[in-house]
């Protein structure tokens, strides 16, 4: 797959999302909102992965952002839209603080610690009963944003996805691309070229965490409710990972492609096997890693290069 094909896929996906509310009913729009939310998470997960760091902390950050939003609204009386930005800011700040410690870790250690941190956030919220509502959760009494109308909520979610897309595109076109690719390839040689590894990892971790937290904020503003089980759900970690892996990692278009395919499949699966769909994502991650490590994009790229070598051979004859 070459650059122009990637651009066409991205543009087509955005175009479909832009016109969807004009003719789709409430239920398809709700499905689309879920797909876009997971897609945004997949994109930001991939952005950190471009440095070689595998985070298992997606659910932790979504949960953190969700509670930042709902508590700011319920306990602090913050306006709805501001509470979503607040979730981003708060998650970014938390990421900045913990990044100082955990971004010195690598590989499995980093992954496990991100998983553990998410669990720690969940347990803290679970136990601060008076403030957070504890295990029963907390409801926005004054109602959700836009009175729960599916049209405006759709645009809100699309805006969240837009932020993730813009950030990812910016990463691809800026010094981030060189810094993260160099770090992923070989940290020793990156240092020798003057890359301040810690600084670039910290910036990436803060930016992606802020967006993930903001997505959490959009999630609770759409449903008006947060409980430790709902906003720290393993779905938020596994589904975006499966999407990015299926589509093809280290790019913006991969998670978009995987997001559309798997997003639709997952909504269907949730209806078919309400308790078993996580198993399917888990299996999918395993199968993709084992048999198609560079995802659908990789397969397309291979097909493309096979074609061009054929052409070269023909030309040579």
């Amino acid at each position: 797959m070459n650059r122009s094909t990637s651009r066409i896929i991205t543009m087509a996906a955005i175009a479909i999302m832009m016109v969807l509310p004009a003719f789709a009913g409430d239920y398809p729009l709700q499905v689309a909102r879920n797909v876009m939310m997971y897609m945004a998470l997949a994109i930001t997960w991939d952005m950190l992965l471009r440095s070689g760091q595998i985070s298992f902390g997606l659910a932790g950050l979504v949960g953190l952002g969700s509670y930042a939003t709902i508590l700011a609204v319920v306990r602090g009386g913050m306006p709805d839209w501001l509470s979503i930005l607040f979730a981003g800011l708060f998650s970014g700040l938390v990421a900045f603080g913990i990044g100082f410690f955990i971004l010195r870790l690598r590989h499995t250690y980093f992954s496990i610690v991100t998983l553990a941190l998410g669990e720690i956030f969940r347990i803290i919220i679970h136990n601060l009963h008076d403030f957070t509502g504890g295990p029963e959760g907390i409801v926005i009494q004054q109602g959700v944003m836009f009175g729960g109308k599916s049209g405006p909520l759709y645009w809100l979610t699309l805006a969240g996805l837009g932020v993730a897309l813009a950030a990812s595109y910016w990463f691809e076109k800026s010094k981030f691309h060189f810094a993260l690719t160099a770090i992923r390839n070989n940290e020793v040689s990156a240092k020798t070229s003057g890359v301040n590894i810690f600084r670039w990892l910290l910036a990436t971790f803060v930016i992606t965490s802020a967006i993930q937290g903001m997505i959490g904020g959009i999630f609770v503003q759409s449903y008006g409710f947060a409980s430790p089980d709902s906003v720290f759900s393993a779905d938020f970690t596994l589904l975006p990972m499966a999407m990015a892996l299926l589509g093809g990692i280290h790019s913006t278009v991969g998670p978009i492609l995987g997001g559309i395919l798997l997003g639709l499949v997952s909504e269907w699966l949730k209806l078919q096997i309400p308790y078993g769909h996580l198993v399917v994502y888990g299996l999918m991650i395993i199968v993709v890693i084992l048999f198609m490590p560079s995802g659908l994009l990789g397969i397309a790229r291979k097909a493309g290069s096979r074609k061009s070598t054929d052409e070269n051979q023909r030309r040579a004859v």
Binding site: S174, K175, F178, A179, T181, A182, N185, N186, V188, S189, A190, K191, T192, S193, G194, V195, N196, I197, H250
Partner: protein, 239 residues
């Protein structure tokens, strides 16, 4: 003027003393050979002065400034560059983009300026078809790319760790001429590690000899090669 000096530089790995009280200095425009048998500590010495590992004892000064514990990426910025014995081109970046990295991060250039600089460096090193993936380069091209990459830091001191290894006689001659040219034009201080003595004889103004981490001899190649301790070190390594 002396660019880089070390004083009693020492690095231990557990019980092993890989570099043992090495004191040396390198001047502007000087090509210095760093020789010694396998495991003598040559690569470890370069790792120490480029900041990839930190010394156990001793001192490193660059242009009169103490840089003993300065992080590697900062050393890249103040003018120290190197290549690696085991080369790792950056995958998913083209030949040109590989050569941009030093300009972007060590020099802080914009992507556009870095691209221009990398094009210039590649032309200087005789590299063509810059959109290629590094996996498609010949050995000689990879070596040239590594040198171009190091030069993109715009260094004043450059270490080349066995860049000639794996090249045939013609290619080696070619690369010797290239190194001489870039060193002269930039008044670079170059530290060259090589096992082929012909290369050392032709390329260097002066050599230092390491054995089991210690600096055992120093001087022009013709002199050092007659030194009995050096001959013993090499024979000992061979036996």
């Amino acid at each position: 003027m002396s660019k880089l000096t070390t004083t009693d530089l020492t690095r231990r790995f557990m019980g092993l003393v890989a570099v043992n009280k090495v004191s040396f200095s390198m001047d502007e425009g000087e090509i210095l050979g760093i020789i010694g048998p396998n495991g003598a500590g040559k690569t470890t010495f370069i790792n120490l002065v480029s900041g990839i590992i930190m010394p156990t004892e001793g001192k490193i000064e660059y242009k009169g400034r103490d840089i003993t514990y300065m992080p590697a990426h900062e050393r890249a910025r103040i003018g120290i560059a190197r290549t690696y014995q085991l080369i790792h081109p950056l995958e998913n970046l083209s030949l040109l983009e590989n050569v941009m990295v030093g300009s972007i991060f060590a020099r802080g250039k914009s992507l556009k300026a870095a691209r221009k600089q990398a094009e210039k460096l590649c032309a200087e090193l005789g590299l063509e078809n810059l959109d290629r993936d590094p996996s498609r380069l010949t050995i000689l091209e990879v070596k040239r790319m590594e040198i171009a990459k190091a030069l993109s830091n715009e260094p004043e001191v450059l270490f080349l760790d066995e860049v000639m290894a794996g090249l045939n006689a013609d290619e080696t001659k070619d690369l010797i001429a290239t190194v001489q040219k870039i060193a002269k034009e930039r008044k670079l201080a170059v530290g060259v590690v090589e096992h082929v003595m012909g290369v050392i004889r032709e390329l260097t103004h002066r050599v230092i000899v390491l054995e089991a981490g210690e600096l055992i001899a120093e001087g022009p190649y013709e002199e050092v090669s007659k030194n009995t301790r050096v001959i013993e070190a090499y024979l000992g390594g061979a036996a």
